[in-house]
């Protein structure tokens, strides 16, 4: 049974490390649904958040194969863990003056922000988990979406709770 799951890969901040990881996914036929790469609390370490859809044996293979790469410091599998998950989305829609109010109301419900108003366009910024952004994008289907970009999912495990 194929399920979606997210892993974080901590890698040494070195040239070509992204090529090593993405090449491994490509040549072994693993899917990447979403990929976000960034700096971390340590200068020497970068963090890749990778979402993938696969059956459980494949998921386990992915983690094991990625772990073998020399530049990989740690692989964190977020499955069944308490996490905070976020994605940022920018959507530029084509709206006439009459539709603006309606769009702004919709944004309020989703706690989105209007970040740019152009000649006949409005750009919305939305932050949330993937489901929320998917739902918002679906609602915007009634409008004309000119351009859209999503940052890809980023995830951190939540801190420990008091006993």
């Amino acid at each position: 049974m194929e399920i979606e799951r997210t892993i974080s890969v901590l890698v040494k901040n070195r040239p070509r490390v992204l090529a090593r990881i993405s090449g491994l996914f490509a040549r072994r036929g693993f899917n990447i649904d979403s990929l976000a790469v960034s700096t971390t609390e340590s200068e020497e370490i970068s963090r890749m958040t990778i979402s993938t859809t696969a059956d459980p044996p494949t998921l386990s293979q992915i983690a094991k194969q990625v772990s073998k790469l020399h530049d990989v410091v740690k692989v964190i599998d977020h499955t069944n863990r308490r996490t905070v998950e976020r994605e940022l989305c920018l959507i530029k829609t084509s709206v006439d003056r009459g539709q603006r109010g309606e769009l702004i109301a919709l944004c309020d419900v989703f706690r989105g922000d209007i970040v740019d108003i152009g000649n006949g366009t409005v750009m919305v910024q939305l932050i949330g988990d993937t489901d929320k952004i998917d739902a918002f994008v679906e609602l915007l289907a009634d409008y004309d979406i000119v351009e859209m970009v999503r940052s890809g999912k980023i995830v951190l495990d939540r801190g420990a709770q008091k006993e």
Partner: protein, 568 residues
């Protein structure tokens, strides 16, 4: 603080070679590695000049397989480095420890499409265990450790080839000579000692099994675990099948050796696996050439899988017990945990089956059977030679008819199946083990892929032998066309082959030809007498012999096509 000693990068490279006890390596010069060859001028390390970089890569690989040490090769930037690619891929697939050093254009030119530039680290990511482009200051400052790290990575854990790409200004410019400090390898984990509880459960499974079989692979060679395998087999009376890679790790002359399973394996090996209720798999990875149709492979067997690479466990076949550990340590632990087991009805059944279903071939053609030549080679050499093979029918007949009782006497491209591998590998093996007999079992097709290395052999007076089983065909492809494509022979006819005797002579080697059954032994004996250079023997054999047994691709043991009955 003492001032850091600064030396040219080329010298630092060779100093680390000395630290690593590199006695010989295979290197081909070119513009971007001239600084390294210049430093070699003053060095005691022997650099052998192959006649093609591919030959150098395979020679380093053959050296590594025959000695267990890291094989080293070197090539210049661009085309030189690209010519190493097949050799690296071959070593990667078979987990062979190798370090390849390539020249690269000056750091300020990297990425500008300059003369003889190729993105070699990019090209080789999928076929190396790791690679380095020594371009950034942080790498140049610890260049000596980069080279040390390459050797360490190549031989530790699951071995493999590691490439270091060195721009000309790094090899000719100065780098600090730093003492060994490679703890920076913090991210690299070699599997821990085996899980004691898993070993206990494995021992219990062996004790309870009615029809256990041990299957050993290349991990046993790399882990130097042959003694432990023999001991475990002796203590628990386990029958042993070996993959192509593990040939010799368990004596093939042993009563409990069930030979090699798989597509062209022995019928009794496949029989043993197919009817077993427990497979103890050590250092093998369930390659498709072994399993055929996975869903019908060893259907009744539970699996204990020991492998140094955790990613191999459950990759192809689910393991009831998976133990990520090196073969030697894990097998040792298993020997201690296991209770002695008597030989029983199952083992007797296997021995009987083996006796009743031996290998065999027909030899009624006017030209002799190629298998006959390999059998005679085994006789004449007492089964003691180090065997290299090319790829195709010759490789399978070598595996079937040249029984080996010791490990590290077998150099064959198992995973990648590289034609042209055997000849340079034989050269590498001969450099690694100078006093011993090395034989390349070849086909008339594959020998032509690295023929140029005969010159290397002649110049260094290497007394290895090349046995060409010459059927004037690309035999394995012809066999598939014969069996599965209505005999529509396409692209396999090698009529018009060169005269191999003259070709040997032109290279300064000895050339012999034999097309007569009755003269095979005599010809082989003559070949063995030559001790000051290579001998190439052209055995003219039956043109359309097929390799049997055969389990067609994707099929299983029930579809095994057996050997034609021997008429001897």
């Amino acid at each position: 603080m003492m001032a850091q000693e600064m030396i040219p990068g080329a010298q630092a490279l060779l100093r680390v070679f000395e630290e690593e006890n590199v006695d010989v390596f295979f290197g081909y010069p070119g513009g971007s590695v001239i600084p390294i060859f210049d430093a070699l001028y003053d060095s005691s390390i022997k650099c052998v000049l192959p006649r093609h970089e591919q030959g150098g890569a395979h020679a380093a690989d053959g050296y590594a397989r025959a000695t267990g040490r890291v094989g080293v090769c070197m090539a210049t930037s661009g085309p030189g480095a690209c010519n190493l690619v097949t050799g690296l891929a071959t070593a990667y697939m078979d987990s062979i420890p190798m370090v390849a050093v390539t020249g690269q254009v000056r750091t300020n030119l990297v990425g500008s499409d300059s003369f003889q530039e190729a993105d070699v680290t990019g090209i080789t990511i999928p076929i190396t265990k790791h690679n380095y482009l020594v371009k950034e200051p942080y790498q140049i400052e610890r260049f000596a450790d980069v080279v040390r790290e390459a050797f360490y990575l190549a031989r530790s854990g699951r071995p493999g080839p590691v490439l270091i790409d060195v721009p000309t200004d790094v090899s000719s410019g100065c780098v600090p000579w730093t003492p060994r400090n490679i703890e920076a390898l913090d991210a690299y984990e070699v599997p821990e000692p085996p899980d004691a509880a898993a070993i206990e459960r494995a021992a219990e499974m062996i004790a309870k099994a009615e029809r256990p079989v041990m299957m050993i692979g290349g991990g046993v060679v790399n882990g130097n675990a042959s003694d432990e395998i023999r001991e475990l087999s002796a203590k628990c009376n386990l029958a042993v099948v070996h993959t192509l890679m593990a040939k010799g790790c368990f004596p093939e002359s042993h009563e409990l050796s069930m030979g090699m399973p798989g597509m062209h394996g022995m019928a009794y090996a496949s029989y043993a696996i197919q009817h077993s209720d427990l497979l103890v798999v050590i250092g093998a990875r369930f390659d498709d050439r072994i399993t055929g149709d996975l869903s019908r492979f060893a259907p009744d067997a539970q699996v204990i899988h020991i492998d140094i690479d955790p990613a191999e466990i459950d990759k192809v076949r689910y393991a009831n017990i998976g133990i990520a550990c090196d073969a030697k340590t894990a097998t040792r632990a298993l020997i201690e945990a296991a209770t002695a087991r008597e030989r029983g009805a199952w083992e007797e059944r296997l021995i009987t089956y083996k006796r009743e279903h031996p290998l065999g071939y027909t030899d009624d053609d006017e030209l002799m059977a190629p298998q006959f030549v390999v059998e005679k080679l085994h006789e004449v050499t007492g089964g003691k030679a180090i065997i290299a093979t090319e790829v195709g029918q010759n490789q399978m007949w070598a595996a079937q008819y040249y029984g080996l009782d010791e490990p590290r006497k077998w150099c064959t491209s198992g995973g990648l199946g590289t034609m042209g591998y055997g000849h340079p590998a034989a050269i590498g093996a001969q450099f690694g083990r100078p006093g011993e007999l090395v034989v390349d079992i070849a086909g008339d097709g594959s020998i032509q892929m690295n023929m140029q290395e005969l010159t290397t052999g002649t110049i260094h007076k290497l007394p290895y032998k090349i046995i060409i089983l010459n059927n004037s065909f690309l035999g394995m492809v012809r066999q598939w066309q014969d069996m599965f494509y209505d005999k529509r022979y396409s692209g396999v006819d090698l009529t018009g082959n060169p005269d191999f005797v003259k070709l040997a002579e032109a290279h300064g080697a000895v050339g012999l030809r034999c097309g007569d059954r009755d003269k095979v032994v005599e010809t082989l004996e003559r070949a063995m007498e030559v001790d000051d250079g290579p001998v190439m023997v052209d055995f003219v054999v039956s043109k359309e012999q097929n390799v049997f047994p055969m389990i067609p691709a994707g099929k299983s043991f029930e579809n095994l096509i057996g050997c034609p009955m021997a008429r001897k």
